[in-house]
Each structure stands twice: as structure tokens, then as C-alpha cells.
């Protein structure tokens, strides 16, 4: 068995429903347990509101669980975030540097990856122009290229693989899938779409009402998930 990246043991987390001392807690996650191993692609499946995004925030160290244990064995885990911290009056290059640094890269690291970002985003001369002159498709291309180049130890992907116009969506989905499938890359892929999960993942965890309901091969879990959706 490969080395453990992190493990969750009966993790629960609560938010306040309303502001103030009378706000009663709302448990977004109640009891989630699973481990992540190096090199695997773990799928997390569940309906909208099952707590998948909250789970992402725990795994990436943004929030801490209120009960249970979450242990990270020393890996850098990052959410794939597009256009993180982008400022509309700055150029594509400046936003790429800022975005990379916000995602934890040193300045010289992100500057070294600028040529790759510029090339992949296909922005050409627009790369040196303020992003408020961009179309939304161009913005998406820049956002994806930066996020893709940051490349952390463990990548958390929430639903979206590809972005932008038709052509770029195909291209970005393709490189993303290649990276997810590659053997040395550890990825957690979250979706409510069973088809993509089955195609990309080595193992799947099913989250329902804030609890981990089942864990196993994509086929087993997706089958059970479908049965549940049809009966409920």
C-alpha cells in the first residue's frame, strides 16, 4: 500500500445558521471517515448539499473540524481555484504572479512558470493588458492556466475540469484528465456526476447528509449511489 497523505476519522463540522449568540449550529458534516493515499485519484460523490464543498475546505486546511480527527501527514493540499485573488485593473502577467503567490508559490517559482502560463492561455499580447479588457472566456483561460501551473502535492478538484469557450474547454479538460490519471499525482475529485467519477477515479467515497456512506471501487459505489437516487 502507498503512503497515507491524510486521514479523516469521524469528522464533523458545524456552522452557525444565524449571526449572534442565538444562532444554532448547523452540521454541514457529521461523520466522515476515509484515508487518501499517495498517487491515487479519489472520487467523492454525493448530491448537492451533501457537504462535499465543506469537505474540500477541511482537506485543504482552510477550516478545522469541530469533532473527529483530520490528520495531514505533511503534504501541501490545494483547491483548484480559478482566478484566485485576481484584481481587474492589473495585467494578465501581474494577476498570474499574484495568483501563484496566493496559492503558495515563491515569486521566482511562479515567474519561472509565466512562459508556460502565457502559452497555454493563448492570450498573446493581451497577457500584458489589464484583465478588465478581457472577455469572460479569456479570463477563464488565464484563470485555468495559472491554477494548472501551480501544481501542488495534492490537488482537490471541485466539479469543474475544463473552462472557457468550446475549444479551450476541450483542451483544458484533456490536460486536466491527463494529470488526474497520471500515476504519481494525488487527486481528490468531487462531483455529483457519476460518469466522470467512474472514468477518472481509482476509488470512490460516497457522502450523503454529511456522512460517509460507502467506500470502494468506482463501479460498486456508483451502482449503489444510483440505486439510492432512484429509490429515494
Amino acid at each position: 500500500m502507498n503512503k497515507k497523505v491524510f486521514s479523516l476519522h469521524e469528522v464533523g463540522i458545524s456552522y452557525r445558521k444565524k449571526r449572534g449568540i442565538f444562532g444554532e449550529p448547523f452540521w454541514a458534516l457529521k461523520k466522515v471517515s476515509f484515508d487518501l493515499y499517495q498517487g491515487e485519484t479519489l472520487g467523492v460523490i454525493g448530491r448537492n448539499g451533501a457537504g462535499k464543498s465543506t469537505l474540500m475546505r477541511i482537506m485543504s486546511g482552510i477550516v478545522k473540524p469541530d469533532c473527529g480527527r483530520f490528520i495531514n501527514y505533511g503534504y501541501k493540499v490545494s483547491l483548484l481555484s480559478l482566478q484566485l485573488g485576481f484584481i481587474s485593473y492589473l495585467t494578465g502577467r501581474e494577476n498570474a504572479i499574484l495568483g501563484g503567490m496566493l496559492m503558495g508559490l515563491r515569486r521566482k517559482e511562479i515567474e519561472g512558470r509565466i512562459p508556460a502560463i502565457k502559452e497555454f492561455s493563448e492570450l498573446g499580447d493581451f497577457f500584458e493588458k489589464p484583465i478588465n479588457t478581457y472577455s469572460s472566456g479569456m479570463n477563464a483561460r488565464l484563470g485555468f492556466s495559472v491554477a494548472f501551473q501551480v501544481d501542488p502535492d495534492v490537488l482537490l478538484v471541485d466539479e469543474v475540469l475544463g473552462v472557457g469557450d468550446e475549444e479551450f474547454r476541450l483542451k483544458s479538460t484533456k490536460v486536466m484528465q491527463e494529470r488526474i490519471r497520471s500515476n504519481n499525482k494525488t487527486v481528490v475529485f468531487i462531483s455529483h456526476d457519476a460518469k466522470t467519477i467512474e472514468k477518472l477515479c481509482d476509488r470512490v467515497v460516497w457522502i450523503e447528509h454529511g456522512e460517509s456512506r460507502m467506500e470502494g471501487t468506482p463501479k460498486q459505489v456508483v451502482n449503489e449511489y444510483h440505486c439510492y437516487l432512484h429509490t429515494s
Binding site: 475546505r57 483547491l79 503567490m101
Partner: protein, 261 residues
Amino acid sequence: MFLTSLSDAMLTYLELILYKTYADLKAETERTYLGFLWWIFEPILFMGVFYFVFGVLQKQPVPNFVPFLLVGLITWEWFKACVSHGSSVIYGQYPLMQHVHLPKILFPIILILTDSFKFTFVFSLLLIYLWSTIYPINVAYWALPVVLLVELLFTMAITFWVAAIVPFVPDLRFVIENLLTAVFMISGVFFSAEQMTEGVQFYFYLNPLANLIEDYRKILLHGQFPDWSALMLITVVSLIGIFTAMQVIRRFEYVYPKITP
């Protein structure tokens, strides 16, 4: 091993602080036609209003009132800008906090750097104005960096505290704005302690900003050294304030992202 990884993280954050400060400043200049000139024009307009009310409409309360007023206003505005912006600095970063973990203390630090950079512009202009009139550089200027540093420390303490608490009680923002106006009125920006009775003076000097503004005037306008013991006291209080506020922010590091604005 632990130490190298620690210092590596520190360096990463230091670079981020500097670049984000640069980015925020640049974005601000790109937003308007006049760009960075507004960092100078805006305070001039603001000071113009006060000059008109206290310098033209009223009989001047102290001799050479304009330089007296300018020194007070400019140094006050530095403090005020930081604290006022500080009330929304962690609170306003909710979208960013949902996507990446960053030490929340970075936000007020970046803010203070940004506002301090703008302050250096206006302050340099003030110095040039003073030198070109009847207030040359004098020996007391040696103490100027100390007074600036003490004001920076005091500003950091208050800004950190405001940034730490407002996310929990957003209503405080309105209170803070009005408190700032109140403190502005009693900090001696447009009057001096000499105009007050002795009994009131004691309370007047309990306000660190009243002390700091008077110290700036002593140095810049009268060539006198500041009140060292008061500066010492403000430094100690500020350091305690900075330290405790940082503890509070660290304590709630993982709670801030859970508070929806």
C-alpha cells in the same frame, strides 16, 4: 529541518505581502484618470476644507495656523485611514478565504503597508512645504523617525484589534467610524493643549494621538525634542496591543473562513 521550512514559509509570506501591496497600490492608481496624483490631491482637498473653516471663516486660534493644522491633519489621517480600512480587512476577504488557507494577519499587514506608502507621499510634501516657509530642518529631526515608528506601532495595535473583532460583530463598523470622528475632535488637530484648563489637559494627554500630534509639532515647528517618557509608554502599550491582537487572530484562524459576511 523544521527551522528551514519555517523560514521558507516566512519568506513566501513576506514576498506575498510585498507583491500584494504593490498590486493594490497599482490597482488603485489604474482606477482613476489622475492615478497616484490622487494620493496628493485628496488630502489637499480635505485639508482645504479645514483651512477654509478654521483659517478663513474663524479667527485663527494659534499663530501660523496653517502649518499647525497641516501637521496635525496629515499625521492623523495616516492613523485614521489604517483603522477605518482595518474594520473590513479580514471581513472583506471572505471569498479568498474560501479557496486558500492564508494566515489572516497578512491582510491587516498588507493594508497598513498600502496606507503607509500613501502617507509617505503626503508627508514628504508636508516637509517640503515646511522647509520652503519658515520651518527649516533642525536638530530635533533626529527624533522624527522615532515618533513615526511609535505612531506606526500604535496604528498597528488598533488596526489589528479592529480587524480581529469586526468579523464577529460587523455592526461595530458603524461604531468605529463615529469613534474615529470623536477621537479626531479631541486629538488636538485644530487646537492645542495650551488653550485648555489644567484639569482638562490631564485627560487630553491620556489620548496617545494627542501626544503624537503634539510631538510632531514640537519637532517640525518648534525644533524641540518630543516627550520621551510618553513615547515610551505608548510604545509599551502598543506592543502589548499588537501581541494580544495577533494571538486573537491566530486563535480564530480557522473560524474566520466560517463567518459569512
